[in-house]
Subunit: 494 residues, 2 copies
């Protein structure tokens, strides 16, 4: 087993250079591999990770303090499912955007040459792993899966929160890829903050992806776009995930909503980028006791690490100091484990006070806390929604007979979110063809893209048009016979 | 006729504020308009521009010195064709990327909710017009057409090289839009460099597009990505457009190639972003006399303006000073018009000397000059191609029986271009479904995108997923009955 990283130690300069050179050398063969070949690579990685579950899950638990089951087993299952789903994307072939315009002397703007378009990989991708999903948004997570599917070699910057897991996962991924026929430099893992920055500045890196905090992601984005040759940087940063509850929904199922909300914001110790941070309830909602009870029933859960725990405590102090913000339930610290745990904290304020609350109430609080904001009427609710920062999600709990009221809210919610939910909670993010995990800044640095779902592959591809080439010189995806049976637009027709 | 701009004068602060506020106010109604309504708007703009041809073409000629016919008439025709083609994109509907995943309890990663995805406009777009195509890449050009088609209000920063034309075109576009039912703030024109920068920094602007020089585009890109809320910036900057000629092509049709080359690089006084700036010929090509003759036969053409003329002269002096670069034909200045004109200049060097020539020979020279670079063999040619900056196009002139030789060149050319051409010249850029006008930096600041062709609309759209909504609350594009008859992917199937 080749092991380029020493555990818990920065990747050294020589090794980083080897990894970057290998990734650059792998770019051409990776681009030349057929979609079917790349699908096999992804399947091999998924199989190898599934086979190593008994090694991976305990290690993930030890490093992140997340429960082994169902959480980490479920997350590993999600991760290998995701790799295989990108195999289906490759088999389907629509992602290539193959388009054929035959020569047309009658083209109204003047004779048109034969011109054909297809997408090709951007080149070596640098992926920064997240702390909070040690499988699904880490070494073999969605960014890696979509970049590999696109044909981009991946240099993976490990998150320091789970270094041993990153090293082991990286070895499994690398070996599975090479055994399945991928080029040697198709995948490798690097460690260290400065090492990641060095890699990001390296001209051989053509694209980067990141999941994490707003300050961290913005700093890396700034580096990526300040290079002599700026590169696309897909950062998935912060999100407040507001939830609006209508009067009708309160009347019909207030208790269910109260319980669902507490379950969602405290899930995984509130360390989800889709955690509902704000719950908008109509004045006189009558759920105070239910909420207090539901929050009180949640046990303390350890945070991912000390840095996140102390960041959470700091943010909580700031929130509690905002005039007009009251504490409904004050969470308590559980210091018995390796890392501090907390029972959830529930805060409350009014829409009026929220509007006067400044940046603190608008920004994400990463951890098991959320704020209930009461509103007097729809006009006041719309005033508040108009001030919210964009994020990943926005949710409405309502009744179908309130369609007019809800329809009035939707434009305001669409402005601030990439995913809208009805009578559900944002913390579940399915991986499917229609998923959208993104949104205007600061949800992401690239609002036209998604980091979850099959469309995530689009981030790693660029178009090439071929004009006037004889069939034999065209890439297979564009040849007249269409032997790959790709869905193609031909002369404007699907 | 409402006229917000005084000609040849910066837009004042109050007017700019009115225009930005109107664009922001138009964003919601523009997004709510159906694709069919927006197609009608574009058609109305095209009709109005066609009807004003007798006013527009002479004004364009007076300001840019480009020939009225066939150039400017052809360019106006291209421009109105482009607007109508985006109407077809809207009617087709695939651009919406409508995707429906029904709820699926058996989804392998865990039960999937009903989730549906569709693209929506990003919001107000700021478009910086180019100097060299006063219709097709200016006020009503491709960036404007694709942004309007997407449903984004457009604030158009006029190019100072054709201010009166910009004002008149802007009035025609604005009036046609409003008469066709578009919101009042859907389109307006602003003037002035600092005014453009102020607009680019304004939080109401959600996306920007630009066509022009590398320094100008990079400066604006830097501003766009340094905002507190960075926005997508689609800059189409510089391109050298190398052309490689094989020994077989020289033998078969050297004369045709020599004439085609000179015609292409001197077209429009060499002021095309796709001008072939480098012609790679095999040593002993024997075309010197033909090239000299063809260049000598081209009459002087005035440049777009004095700034561009003096920039060209400066760049030419730099090129002539590079050791090993010789002058095959020295262009002469024609100072009889309003603006200097030049007959073309042809330079020559060898691959070895080119490799030692530094940045000057690698960067675009905007004007009627080009460099012939002779190579000894394919290995040397590949060495040079490996050093070239990416650009918009790369061209091969070869013979079909040289397929192996050409296939060996294609990976190197693919790396550096968004469009590859075979036995053709890059200066014609058709507008069609398969067109790609873009490429890795410095061709563009966004290598995943195109600024010409129907895919240009993708730059102005962002995805929204709708999870669990009842049919009545869904946008029409996602409702179960699919009354718009959109092409949709449903449960993973096309």
């Amino acid at each position: 087993m080749r092991s380029k990283e020493s555990m818990s130690q920065e990747t050294d300069r020589v090794t980083l250079e080897e990894i970057l050179a290998a990734a650059a050398a792998a770019a051409s063969p990776a681009a030349a591999a057929t979609p079917a070949e790349r699908a096999r690579w992804l399947g091999a990685v998924a199989d190898a990770l599934d086979a190593a579950a008994e090694e991976l899950v305990p290690l993930a638990h030890a490093e992140t303090h997340l429960p082994a089951s169902p959480r980490l087993r479920g997350e590993l299952n999600r991760t290998t499912f995701q790799l295989r789903l990108f195999g289906k994307v490759l088999a389907d072939g629509e992602y290539l955007g193959a388009t054929v315009d035959h020569a047309d002397l009658q083209w109204p703007m003047g004779a048109r040459p034969d011109i054909r378009r297809v997408l090709v990989p951007l080149g070596p991708a640098l992926v920064f792993a997240a702390s909070n999903f040690p499988f699904a948004f880490s070494v073999a997570g969605g960014d890696t899966a979509s970049a590999l599917a696109a044909g981009c070699p991946v240099v993976l910057k490990a998150h320091p929160g789970h270094e041993e897991l990153s090293t082991l996962t990286g070895q499994i991924v690398r070996e599975a890829l090479v055994a399945a026929g991928a080029p040697e430099g198709m995948f490798d893992v690097i460690h260290g903050v400065e090492v990641g920055v060095t890699a990001l500045k390296d001209p051989r890196i053509a694209v980067a992806a990141f999941t994490g905090s707003v300050p961290g992601g913005r700093a890396l984005f700034d580096i990526a776009v300040s290079r002599p040759v700026p590169i696309p940087f897909y950062g998935e940063l912060g999100s407040v995930n507001p939830v609006v509850v209508t009067p009708g929904a309160i009347a019909a199922r207030g208790e269910t909503i109260a319980k669902g909300y507490v379950g969602s914001f405290s899930l995984g110790a509130g360390q989800f980028c889709t955690k509902p941070g704000l719950l908008f309830l109509p004045e006189g909602h009558g759920l105070d006791d239910l909420l207090r009870e539901a929050v009180g029933a949640v046990a303390a859960q350890p945070m991912l690490n000390d840095r996140i725990a102390s960041g959470y405590e700091h943010k909580l102090r700031e929130l509690r100091a905002v005039p007009g913000v009251s504490v409904v339930v004050a969470g308590v610290v559980d210091g018995t484990g390796d890392v501090s745990g907390f029972t959830p904290t529930l805060l409350a304020t009014t829409a009026k006070q929220f509007l006067a609350g400044g940046a603190v109430v608008h920004e994400e609080c990463f951890g098991p806390a959320s704020i209930v904001v009461t509103y007097t009427d729809q006009a006041e609710l719309l005033d508040v929604l108009a001030t919210l920062e964009p994020g990943l999600t926005a949710t409405v709990h309502g009744e179908e007979d309130e369609a007019d009221l809800v329809a009035g809210l939707l434009p305001a919610l669409t402005r601030i979110a990439g995913r809208l939910l009805w009578n559900d909670w944002p913390t579940g993010v399915t991986v499917s063809w229609a998923q959208q995990h993104g949104g205007p800044y600061p949800a992401t640095t690239a609002p036209t893209t998604t980091s979850v779902g099959t469309a995530a592959i689009e981030r790693f591809l660029r178009p090439i048009a071929w004009q006037g080439f004889p069939d034999v010189l065209l890439p297979e995806a564009l040849r007249e016979a269409n032997e790959w049976r790709l869905p193609r637009r031909t002369d404007g027709m699907r």
